[in-house]
Amino acid sequence: MATLRPGRLSAGRYFLYVAMLTVMGIATLSLVLPNWAHAVKSLLGLERPPTVAPSSFYVQRIAPLFEEHCSSCHGARRQKANLRLDNLAYIVRGGKHGEVIKAGNLRDSELFSRIRLPASNDQVMPPKSKAPLSGDEITVVRLWIAAGASGVQPSAAFSEAPKAPVRVAIPDIDATAVTHNRASHVNAVRALQRRLLDVIQYQSRASADLEVHATSMGRSFGDVELALLVEIGAHIVWADFSDTAITDASAGAIKTMQRLRVLRLANTRISGSMVPALVSLNQLQSVTVVGTAITEASLRPLKDRHVMIHGNDEMANTLNARP
């Protein structure tokens, strides 16, 4: 060791020692730092990725759950704390502090501990700004880790697991189809929308069917205005003329609305003369005649077709009563 005294070492020997120390340092770090250790093992082919089966509990229940709650921070794009949870190989590998899941050992599985922390705790996962896991989701994770955090164990082996939520897929709106379906009446609708503000609208962004909300115009909406709707009558499926000034003179116009399913005529000056027009609406499911002069007897044909009638209480009780 005499050569290690100050000024006694040759430059060549010194740098040889430095090179050796550097290699030893890197080797030590590879053993101490989990990510380095995994990278070296993987490079040397000493680490086999876990097997994952499509029918496994992991694929069907755990992977979607991690995708929804964790992958924005621990996924392909971002790896906070060097942790990825979008693939079982990465989950098993863990993050910069080592493994986050210990198969069969819930107490030492940091991931499980973190998702169970109270919302007030700084260490809770997902963090406070994001939606926490539900009780059922925590149960699913608990069962999976307790059973060995396997990638092949089938879902059938987890009979006590809460049922998977039903996911409803909302189809994208086909803008071309919508344009095509509306083409026959789109100009007429636009013109009427300018004239009768807030009265006519499409049932939805994807629909070509129309709704009429004439109530908003009150008594300024009468037979003349209703007559304007004849042009688009075939496309109206829902109409509310309650509290407007329409009379039996609009019967003809209403008759053109052959696809009407819901019609509200409450507090209008209609009478039994309107009933034949209503009877002609074959798709009618509900009609409201509260506050009109329509008589009980005149509504019998609609009742026979099981049309829901909303009339005065007494009338409704009589007509809607089941035998």
Binding site: L4, P6, G7, R8, L9, S10, A11, Y14, V18, T22, C73, R78, K80, A81, K96, H97, D122, Q123, M125, P127, K128
Partner: protein, 229 residues
């Protein structure tokens, strides 16, 4: 009575020579300590402490840059940042065994100081805009988009690795002087005194008065506080 050393008097031939002022020595060891604290706190997720440590580093580095213009002779950039030819000549001289002595940083060490200061400044500055994506954001992260903050965070991590490499090179160089050249650079960085034999005979070190350092430090700390609040 005026301090003869401050007036640039040549000390006796056997006496050690003061070459580093207290500010440089404190800066050096505080940076070492804060780098360790920063690594430990980031690793353990102690982000409040990491923030404090990072802001401390930023303050120190800006102070050191200011001290490089206002400080004592051996602290000044104009004294130790030399051209590439002088750096090459320094290495050639050292290889041939007839390198000359330097009072403060030698030409290679001078550039090491510059590179380390730039790296530390970049590291501390990127930390202001970084985030851990979970609970913590740097004090100025709100000024940029989350995506840009993520990129800055990655850079923050890469810069730390670079600083580790630079620190290793620095340690290797210091130990080279100790084991190969017999020149102990560590003790002077603690005591401020250098062996007379390792200092040029005509060395003149002018030490800046401590109140300048206090004033500079107060100004820098105030600016950093103002920026992050």
């Amino acid at each position: 009575m005026p301090d003869p050393e401050r007036l640039g008097a040549v000390p006796e031939i056997s006496a050690p020579v003061k070459v580093w002022d207290a500010q440089i020595r404190l800066f050096h060891w505080l940076v070492v300590a804060l780098l360790g604290v920063s690594f430990f706190t980031a690793d353990r997720g102690l982000m409040k402490w990491h923030r404090a440590s990072g802001l401390g580093l930023l303050t120190l580095v800006i102070f050191r840059i200011g001290w490089g213009f206002l400080g004592s002779t051996t602290a000044r950039f104009s004294e130790f940042v030399r051209g590439p030819r002088q750096v090459v000549n320094y290495f050639i001289g050292m290889k041939n065994g007839h390198g000359r002595a330097y009072t403060g940083h030698n030409p290679a060490g001078g550039w090491m100081v510059v590179v380390l200061l730039v790296a530390l400044l970049a590291q501390a500055s990127t930390g202001l805009f970084a985030n851990d994506g979970v609970h913590f954001e740097g004090p100025l992260a709100y000024l940029i988009t989350a995506e840009l903050s993520d990129r800055v965070t990655k850079l923050h991590g890469i810069l730390f690795d670079l600083i580790l490499v630079l620190a290793w090179v620095h340690v290797v160089a210091v130990l080279f002087y100790f084991f190969v050249k017999g020149d102990n650079l560590i003790v002077p960085m603690l005591s401020g005194m250098k062996n007379r034999a390792n200092v040029p005979i005509d060395a003149r070190v002018q030490f800046t008065r401590p109140w300048v350092a206090w004033l500079l430090m107060a100004g820098v700390a105030g600016c950093v506080w103002w920026i992050v609040h």
